[in-house]
Structures are given as C-alpha cells and as structure tokens.
Subunit: 354 residues, 2 copies
C-alpha cells in the first residue's frame, strides 16, 4: 500500500498534534454533487451503485477532486448487513429504505443468518480495496457500519419510522427477543468492520442514527452496550498503525460521559451539543468529531466562515478535534458552499494548533 | 365558575405540597380512544372537529370519563394561528398538516396579519368556555399554543419537514426576515393565550416541538427568546389564582438551564432526559413535567408500573412534579394501558409526598 501522505485525520482522532484541524463531511459523496448524480444515473438505482465497486470508488473520490478533504469515506449504505441477512433492501423514490421482510418475532430473529462478510458482502470489500488503491495514500479511508440498534429499527419497522412503534413494543414488552436480535447484529457488525479493516479501511465509524430516540437507561442497555461489544472485538491495528473508531449517536449529546466508556477513540457530535461543553465533559479520554449544522451551508460565505470560527473557538486550542457537519450534507446545498466550509476550517484553525 | 375540586395539577406546577403526583397525558383526547374516533367521524375532518366547540368539548372530556386525570387540555391544533393568518391549514391522510400558502420572503412576512384572537379564533374561545362549564370544577383546564419557532417551521416549509431546508436557509442567510416573522408570531401567540386565559384556561402550555432541531445559540436566539417574550406578556392570574405557564421544547434537554430564564413556572421534558438530573440542574426555580416514553404503553402492566416507579424515584421526594408522557400518546396504544399508567402514578407516588 502507498504511504499515507496526509494523516491529519488519524492524528486528530488519536489526539496528536496537527498543523490545522482536519475536516471531512458525512455523506460527502452524494446528491449535492452533479458528478455524483451523473454516475448514479449510469448505475441505475442506489443499491446498484453501492454494489458496483468501480462506480462506488468513483463517487467516493469525487468530493476529493473538488475539496481539500482530510479523509475519504467508503461509499455504501448503512443497511448492507440486513440486506445480506436476506431481508431484501430496496429504495422507493422519496420514501427512504424499505425491507421486503420484517423481523418481529423470536422465530424471525432465530432464523436470521449472521452473514460471512468476506463472501456475502464481498462487493463492499472489493470497493474498499479499489478505493484504497485509487487513493494512492492521499488521505485515509474510513469504513463504517450502522449500529445494531439502528439496523434493528429498520429491520423491525420495515423501513424508516417516526415513532418506532414495533421496535419499542419489542424492547419494552419482549426485551429478550430484542436482545437476541441486537446480539446477532453486534456479531455481524464486528465481522463486517473487521473485514473492512482487513481490506484496507484505516478508521471506522459506527453510525447510531436512532439511539437518540431512547431514554438514557434504554440507550445504555439497547444501543451503547452493543456498540461497546463491537468496539472490544475490532482489529485496532493495520499496517502498523492504530485504526481509530468513531461512535456517532445522533441526538446523543446528553450521554457523552457514558459513551466514553464504550472504548472508542472519538465521539461524533450533532449540532445540538456545544462542542466546548462536550470537550469539558469528556476531558482527554476521546477526540471529538463535528459539529456544524449542515443547513449553515445554505448561507452566504461569510456566515459559513463565522460559524466555523465559532465552533473552533468553542472547542478551543489543542488536539483532538476532527471538523465535520453534525449530520450528512443536504442534497440541495450548492457545492460552492461546501468548498467555502472546507477551506474555512483549514484556514481558521491554524492559530489553534500553534 | 364552579370551585375547583382537584387542584393537584396547579399546586404541583407552583411547587406546593400535594397528596400524590398529578398526571395528565399529552394528546389524551385522541385517536387511541374509540369514542374519539366516533366523534371525529361525525365531525368529518380534523379541523372541523377543532372548529366545533360542542364536539371539541366532548372529546376533551372523553379521557376524563375513563381515567382519573388531574387536568383537561383544550382540544385544538397547534396551527390555528397560521390558519387564522390566512395560510389555509389542511390535513392530508397520513401526511400531517399542510398549508396552501407558504411564507418565504420579507414581503410574505410583512403581508401577514396578526389575528384578533377574540374574533378570528372565536371558535377556540367558545370551546374553552364550553369545556370550563362542562368540567364543573372537576379539574383545571390547560390552554395551549405552538411556539413561534414551531409555528414558523410549518409556515415556511408548508408542512412537516425532516431537514427544515427553507426555514434554516431563512434563519442563517436572512436572519432579519426570520426575526420579523417570529416577532409577529410572538405577538399573535401572546394575544391568543391571553384570550384563552380570559375565556377560562387555568394554565397554559407552549409547545416547542421543533426547537430541538437547532444548535444551542440558535435555539436561544430564534426559539427561546420569543417564548420568553410571550411569557412576559401573559396574564398570570385568573379568578384570584395564579395561571401557571409550562414550556415544552422537545429534544431541549441540553438547554434546561437557559430555559429556566424564560420565566415559566414549569418545563416539560421528553424521555431522553433523566428527570432526576433535570431536577438537580433547575433546582427549585421551576417545576418539571414528564417524562415517560409513550411507547412504554405498548408493554404489559407490570412493565408500565416499573417505569412509572423508576421515574418517580429519579425525581425523588418533594414538590414540583407533574407526571406526563414525554410526547403525545400514540394512536395504537390500548386504552387499558393508559389506565394502568394513570393509576400507577397516583398509587406509587404517595410515599414521595409524605
């Protein structure tokens, strides 16, 4: 493998000194880029794009051609594991992800296979290898997975949900079934992320999109405990270098102290949490990633720069900050404004690293 | 007006001693009740039910016939004000509220009238009077409104939203337009709530359903500041008794300390915040209302009782707790389970008030 030319991102995740704050954007390869829409129209539907390693590599690299980003992230979907379990993932226009089969009973859970990631998700590993090769050491590649709780919400509800009726009924009324499902998913995610690391992922992020729908005690028992189990089972070194792990629970800002105990190197923050407060709460135990409201990118350049500046000041001087949006970049953002954002982070952060 | 027979709710909001913890449920008059569905089918659509004071009174009282609730809440919608401003509120099946006209520009904002609540929203005041008369002092009646920020999200987006694209663009790129709209709405809400109080509302709640979509500084500037302005303009006494004000920002658990400064008597909590932590943070400055996950009502009786018990213990002994769900009761809940909940609160809270 080519030597890594820009390791700001990995260094910041390990709270090591950097020359300026590294930055990437969740969903940086996405619909806001005309070149992405072009490639996607070639591929057909969204999953066909995910399952084509050559095209997945192409879209992964597109934002790096436009912006001076400090990391690439594997182009894939968070729901590849339940798809590999045979639930039949598909996307309806404007409807988000759906599954042909749902998981509602103890028998449904017992019947679910734990996928052999190297075989059943080989298209993901092929994409990781293809991207690593194409990157030629330019920046590190992030692998990822959905958290067990988040995967389970889609599997039990059959798609996106507003009130999580079925999974919360399972959690409160039949906790043993819920735990059986989450245990299986934790095993599957561990195997999946380790396979991504073997294929070349240099850091991994666990996306817990729906952990914030839980109460504190339920979050600890049904989401965090399983992420902790995954983290403890991960390969943490590759090519002689630490593979950092990032946990991101959207709307999890109230539970940072307990999230630290999961053993990840960094926590992702959405924009509802003040990053300076978060830093005081977690101390030097983890790095922090985030957390500009992606909607700031609808504003003019000076407003974007002011918000970047505010967040840098809130975090303050010193190590352990990876700049990001607090959620995926929106599809209607002007790509120019994303460029303003990335440039502002690099330029305005220099004084904080002297 | 008939003398108030059960004032537990009003006493708890003022942090005065009570014999047991009072309880009501957000959206307690709603689709989970077969008798509600029956009345609604008579009325036709949802807004026709809101606009018919006799039927609005009937559904307001329905849950009180089933359960030993300590408060009634006016049956209405949070979007009556923008409807009275001429935006044309309607509901599409499964789609939530929609407006025929949207508010996007400075001219749109300037053209909006501030409704004369006594005239333009007379159907609401008629319902308040009808309910007060029918209650015969059994329990207090809560009036309510959406917060300016929450009303604005629907007015600018044209309905429900996932990412608040248009209103956040307005907020970040054209803050002066956003402030003009929110100022007008704050005036309208103040007049509206005061008119409800004059008509007989004995407490009022401001529902800030979408304040939690903001960052801390934006919440303070664009949501909380306007709720504070409303609170400072409210009539706080009626029939020689204090009219308490409750602020409820969903997903606002990180900002309780600043919310206290708005001058309300109580803060509503959703279930993501531990009520014991919240109590330590707000001290004796406000009462707290909440905060069981409404999905617990999908569980068997013993699980519901265990969760009620856990929340009572978390709050601890002493005054200033109104028990509630952390959000509206879901439509698929079995009415029996709501009964288990209400009974459990009264029974299990007695030791905390000795």
């Amino acid at each position: 493998m080519a030597e890594l030319k820009n390791d700001r991102f990995l260094r910041a995740l390990m709270r090591e000194p950097v020359d300026c704050t590294p930055v990437w954007m969740m969903r940086q390869a996405g619909r806001y880029l005309p070149e992405y829409r072009e490639t996607r129209s070639q591929a057909g539907d969204f999953m066909s794009l995910c399952k084509n390693p050559k095209l997945a590599c192409e879209v992964t690299l597109q934002p790096l051609e436009r912006y001076d980003l400090d990391a690439a992230i594997l182009f894939s979907d968070i729901l590849t594991i339940p798809d590999a379990m045979g639930l039949g993932l598909y996307f309806e226009a404007g409807e988000g992800p759906r599954f042909k089969k749902v998981v509602r009973t103890a028998d449904d859970v017992a019947a679910l296979p734990v996928p052999d990631a190297a075989v059943d998700l080989d298209y993901v590993m092929a994409a990781v290898r293809e991207i690593r090769s194409a990157l030629m050491g330019r920046v590190p590649l992030i692998g990822f997975s959905g958290s067990p709780w988040t995967l389970a919400t889609y599997m039990v509800e059959g798609g996106s949900s507003k009130d999580f009726r079925h999974i919360k009924e399972m959690m409160y009324a039949r906790p043993e079934v819920m735990h059986a499902l989450l245990g299986k998913l934790a095993d599957a995610v561990t195997v999946y992320l380790n396979e991504q690391i073997r294929a070349g992922a240099q850091a991994v992020q666990i996306f817990d999109t729906w952990g914030g729908a839980l109460s504190g005690p339920m979050y600890a028992e049904f989401s965090l405990a399983y992420m902790k189990r995954i983290v403890s089972g991960l390969i943490r070194e590759n090519d002689g270098r630490r593979v950092p792990v990032i946990l991101f629970t959207k709307n999890g800002g109230q539970w940072l102290e307990t999230m630290v105990e999961a053993g990840a190197d960094a926590l992702g923050l959405d924009w509802t949490t003040e990053i300076g407060d978060a830093r005081r709460r977690v101390g030097d135990r983890v790095a922090l990633q985030g957390n500009m409201d992606p909607s700031v990118l609808y504003a003019p350049a000076d407003r974007i720069r002011a918000e970047v500046s505010r967040i840098l000041e809130s975090f303050g001087p010193g190590n352990g900050h990876v700049f990001n949006l607090g959620h995926g970049i929106h599809q209607f953002v002007d790509p120019e404004q994303a460029g303003v954002f990335v440039e502002a982070v690099h330029e305005l952060s220099v004084p904080y690293h002297k």
